[in-house]
């Protein structure tokens, strides 16, 4: 096909698609033309794998997942015996805590929101500031932090030696020393199972034309259009995060001594006040939003981005005023509502007492 034929072919394709009422837009995160038709090949990059990558040194066996689940819900891990992982990462709040800022040891209000656990196993970097590489590494963080669980490591090793836990550890990690590090691996295995990858949007991408409403499809178009929502520049396929760091211009960054975020880990100018892009999957279950809970609703989030952020100092170069009208903002919110996998009943574990 020569250049003239190619141009003719392209123009014809656009005309045919236009006649069929199907539009195509180059995504904000890449230049591949997307065709907004259920099941279209161009959309498939938005589907997550059924299971996240398997950690090289911690295969998530059934025994490890079951042990990790008990540990995740066991408040005795914290120094005061009143705070489990699930206190801040609760299935009742979309694996977050429903609070603007996390609450730690002795009720101390922490500096950042509790990040949701959902789909973190798909991510290549953990925590709001990326200071942990994987879930195994991350799981010990809150235990070690004096302002969070403030765990007495000697006491939990004793707890793990009770006959119930000992049996579970022996099954899950035969021959390995029982202690905080093994517990962290088991917790990571459990977190590996906390997934959202079967939402109405996923079904629409797979080919179910009825899975999303017209408004939600329009919201998706706006979401990926770099001249409109420009959302996918950061909330990119397939987990709606680029595993990247951006200063999105929150109000709090304009205050005295703001949280510098990723910059503390990597002193590079563009990282001043930058935080990791959170996934948007199951986003309706985990309000409030942003790393400090600054927005209560998704419409407030849209208002924030319509203005291109509040604090312009050190603003990410990938953030701009998107200036959508009310209907367009509502369409994107409707689309984000299609990213929630319908919750299924969750069985709480029985914890070993002795």
């Amino acid at each position: 096909m020569n250049t003239k034929q190619f141009k003719l072919f392209t123009m014809s394709s656009v005309l045919v698609l236009a006649l069929l009422g199907i539009s195509q837009i180059a995504g904000a995160d890449d230049e591949i033309q997307m065709i907004f038709k259920a099941g279209d090949l161009s959309l498939q990059k938005w589907l997550l794998a059924d299971k996240p990558p398997v950690p090289k040194h911690n295969y998530p066996s059934h025994e490890r997942i079951e042990l990790g689940k008990k540990l995740f819900f066991d408040p005795r891990i914290s120094r005061d015996g009143n705070m489990s992982c699930a206190t801040c990462h609760s299935p009742m709040f979309g694996w977050g805590d429903g609070l603007p800022l996390g609450v730690g040891y002795k009720g101390k209000i922490l500096g950042r929101a509790s990040p949701v656990v959902t789909n973190t196993a798909y991510n290549s970097i953990q925590m709001w500031d990326g200071r942990k590489r994987d879930l195994e590494d991350q799981a010990t963080g809150p235990m070690e932090a004096s302002v969070e669980m403030n765990t007495d490591m000697h006491a939990i090793t004793k707890l793990f030696s009770n006959s119930g836990y000992k049996k579970l550890f022996d099954k899950a990690y035969p021959g390995e020393k029982v202690g905080p590090a093994t517990a962290a691996k088991a917790i990571a295995s459990f977190e590996w199972t906390i997934l959202s990858n079967d939402s109405p949007f996923d079904n629409w991408v797979r080919g179910d034309e009825t899975a999303m409403t017209k408004q939600q499809i329009n919201g998706f178009k706006l979401f990926v259009d770099s001249d409109k929502g420009n959302c996918s520049v950061c909330h990119s396929a397939p987990n709606f995060t680029d595993n990247g760091f951006h200063n999105v211009g929150l109000k709090a960054y304009g205050e005295k001594n703001p949280d510098m975020g990723r910059y503390v880990q990597k002193p590079i100018r563009v990282l001043k006040g930058a935080f990791k892009t959170p996934t948007l999957r199951d986003i309706t279950l985990s309000a409030p939003y942003f790393h400090n809970g600054e927005a209560s609703t998704l419409m407030q989030v849209m208002d924030h981005y319509n203005k291109g952020g509040v604090t312009k100092k050190d603003l990410s170069p990938n953030i701009k005023e998107i200036k959508l009208d009310k209907q367009e903002s509502e369409d994107i919110v409707a689309f984000m509502q299609a990213l929630t996998t319908p919750p299924v009943p969750f069985d709480l574990p029985i914890l070993p007492l002795d």
């Binding site: 904000a28 995160d29 970097i125 520049v233 595993n243 990247g244 590079i268 930058a274």
Partner: protein, 105 residues
Amino acid sequence: MKYMNILIALSLFLFSNTGFAEEHTVGQKNKAFSVKQIKIKKGDVIHFENQDPFFHNVYSLSDSTTFDLGSFPKGESKSVTFNTPGTIPVECAIHPNMYMEVIVE
């Protein structure tokens, strides 16, 4: 004859690469560097070119070669001269999965 030899020697110097820095281009496309590793000579220059439709950064915090090229959009490039031998890790601060190594010989 003497002048002829000088002329030949001068030509060889001028037209050979010996003693001259080479220039290399590394692209940033689909949130990845176009190469994972590149071997260059001391004094060579690498042009980092953003080919993605959004901003990237390029930096290194290695002991021997520290730089931060800031952020730049599609179509723009920024350059670094590598003057110290060694293996230099290079990353995009915005997208930390973007990682490569420059081996300076």
